[in-house]
């Protein structure tokens, strides 16, 4: 499990978990789960295009993810946000199915792109991943205060001259960067669960944003490490463990919070 060819996997997975935990906190806070699903999922179309043209998949993913983020931002200014997200998603996936039909030897790769692959993260992918990850963290650090302001008290943010539309587009671009770097390990679909589950769990324990981010990163790390270990031993897809563990951790948190709440009610009564 810790042999040399798995080292890259552990490094890549840990980076993915950190990014997903940080970005996921804002996804849950802002209620942008649909965009956080649509951008990585739609970027799958870009990966299919990259395979067709014979270029690096990360390039194709990146172009589609950024294009999707800008497209969602552009369309939402002219209509409903969720409609814009849905249409951007289906358009990217439609292009993906077109690229897919042009290339011949792809069906097997589709599965690992969608649901992740524990084995075989090549070393030359680690450096771009680390770079994109750093860019994400940096962007979140710069956007931290306006992001919190526009999410929690939009009126105050507007009074202070923060433009919500720009912040939203900036945040979608961060989600796009984050999804681009995560593909080799968790796949385009499960990146999403890694952003939602841990962050939602963390939010039900603490309301302090920094603590919540730290907790969400920690939970994401545990889920990814556990998922890879179990997937390695059982040979089942890592996506299954990552996807279900996120929901399980949230269910546990809700149960715990409910019991604490009822105990508090009991003591006050």
């Amino acid at each position: 499990m810790f042999s040399s060819f798995m080292v890259n996997t552990w490094i890549a997975a840990s980076m993915v978990a950190v990014i997903a935990g940080v970005v996921g906190f804002f996804v849950v806070l802002r209620g942008s789960a649909f965009a956080a699903h649509a951008i990585p999922h739609g970027s799958f179309g870009g990966a299919a295009g990259a395979v067709l043209l014979g270029v690096n998949t990360i390039l194709g993913l990146g172009i589609f993810a950024v294009g999707g983020a800008l497209g969602i931002g552009w369309l939402s200014r002219r209509g409903r946000h969720d409609v814009a997200t849905a249409l951007a998603l289906v358009l990217m996936l439609g292009l993906g199915s077109l690229f897919l039909s042009f290339s011949v030897e792809y069906a097997g790769a589709v599965y690992s792109l969608l649901f992740g692959e524990v084995l075989g993260v090549p070393s030359y992918d680690l450096l771009p991943m680390a770079g994109l990850g750093l860019a994400c963290i940096l962007a979140i650090a710069i956007l931290y205060r306006p992001l919190l302001l526009t999410s929690i008290t939009p009126e105050v943010a507007e009074a202070r001259g923060v433009r919500p539309g720009r912040i939203e587009t900036g945040f979608l671009l961060v989600v796009a960067l984050a999804s681009t770097m995560t593909v080799p390990v968790v796949g385009v679909l499960l990146m999403f669960s890694l952003m939602i589950g841990p962050a939602a769990t963390a939010r039900s324990f603490t309301h302090n944003p920094l603590w919540a981010i730290a907790l969400s990163v920690a939970i994401a790390l545990v889920i990814v490490w556990f998922g890879i270990a179990v997937a390695y031993v059982t040979d089942y897809p890592v996506g299954f463990f990552v996807g279900t563990l996120g929901a399980v951790s949230y269910a546990c948190a809700r149960f715990w919070a409910g019991r604490r709440g009822s105990r508090r009610v009991a003591t006050t009564a």
Partner: protein
């Protein structure tokens, strides 16, 4: 003239059995998703609608594994997912996003597992692509009656709670005051949406299910404000998108770069997006014309000719 017709409708288009099945099923599904989708757009539940379709694919792959009819797999899992979303709090505005996301995440996890088992047990890797992307041209003929009956059921359900649904979508408080069981209506609508979406996802793929559930209704709602009219218009737009897509996909057999057709899903999605963007332009033109007229009238009223015009109404 016949040369032009032949260029648009490639020879053999109407004689092909898969095309005929696709024309019928595509139209039925487009009508149902159009009618159901108007409320999806009004209630801002596009994410839930999309999620139900994707989670349904877990049921589809499970059914494939156990050898039962995939339609029941899709539908069963989608209805269960709708219930879970409700339990997790999809009815509360602040929690709906996370509730939908968690169910979707878990559902995709199960899809990953079942698809993995499908591919290892049958050693056909193509099943992932078939289940996730689907194709209008691979509809099995014996399924036609089931599809038509289930579509009719969904339409009857949506028609029977139309008024309660409309009131509780536009103003939940007013609906509650009038004695509408808002929560029950919300659950009923989630289940209807699960039936419609899983029907669409099983027959034409999850991409098209989402596209038809959201695109044509959003297009229609930009052109008319009446929900009833929007439902009819959405159905028409959806049917048009599907049929144009089928014709183009059939024509594309003769197009480069490969000697098989381009995927029909791509064409239908492209048409849906074109209609949506086009309706935006039409609506903007209409607004501009109305405001210009209101401006003229405003000028008239200033000169004292037309004192009763309410320029704000435009």
């Amino acid at each position: 003239m016949s040369g032009l017709l032949n260029a648009i409708f490639a020879p053999g288009l109407f004689a092909s059995a898969p095309v005929r099945a696709a024309v019928v099923v595509g139209a039925v599904v487009a009508v149902v998703t159009g009618a159901v989708g108007v409320f999806t757009v009004i209630r801002s539940q596009a994410f839930a609608g999309h999620a139900l379709g994707e989670v349904g694919s877990a049921g589809g792959s499970l059914a494939f594994l156990s050898g039962t009819n995939p339609l029941w797999g899709y539908m069963g899992v989608a209805v269960i997912a709708a219930g879970l979303m409700e339990v997790l709090g999809v009815h509360r505005p602040r929690a709906r996003d996370v509730a939908t996301g968690l169910v979707l995440g878990a559902g995709l996890g199960f899809a990953a597992l079942f698809l993995y088992l499908d591919t290892t047990s049958t050693s056909t890797t193509g099943v992932t692509v078939t289940i996730l992307f689907g194709s209008l041209f691979t509809i099995s003929q014996p399924m036609l009656p089931n599809i038509v009956v289930l579509s009719a059921v969904a339409l009857v359900l949506i028609a029977s709670c139309y008024r309660m649904l409309l009131l509780s979508s536009l103003s939940p408080e007013l609906a509650a005051v009038r004695g509408v069981p808002v929560r029950a209506v919300a659950i009923a609508y989630l289940v209807i949406m699960a039936v419609a979406v899983s029907l669409a996802a099983e027959t034409i793929g999850t991409i098209l299910a989402t596209a038809l559930l959201v695109g044509p209704p959003a297009t229609a709602l930009r052109l008319t404000k009446r929900p009833g009219g929007a439902m009819v218009l959405a159905g028409l737009v959806g049917v048009a998108a599907v049929w144009i897509g089928i014709v183009l996909a059939y024509d594309s057999f003769y197009w480069p770069p490969v000697d098989h057709g381009w995927p029909v899903s791509f064409f239908v999605v492209a048409m849906v997006v074109v209609f949506y963007l086009g309706s935006g332009a039409v609506a903007a033109l209409g607004r501009a014309r109305r405001s210009r007229r209101a401006g003229d009238l405003g000028a008239l009223s200033e000169s004292g000719c037309e004192p009763h015009v309410d320029a704000d109404a435009a």
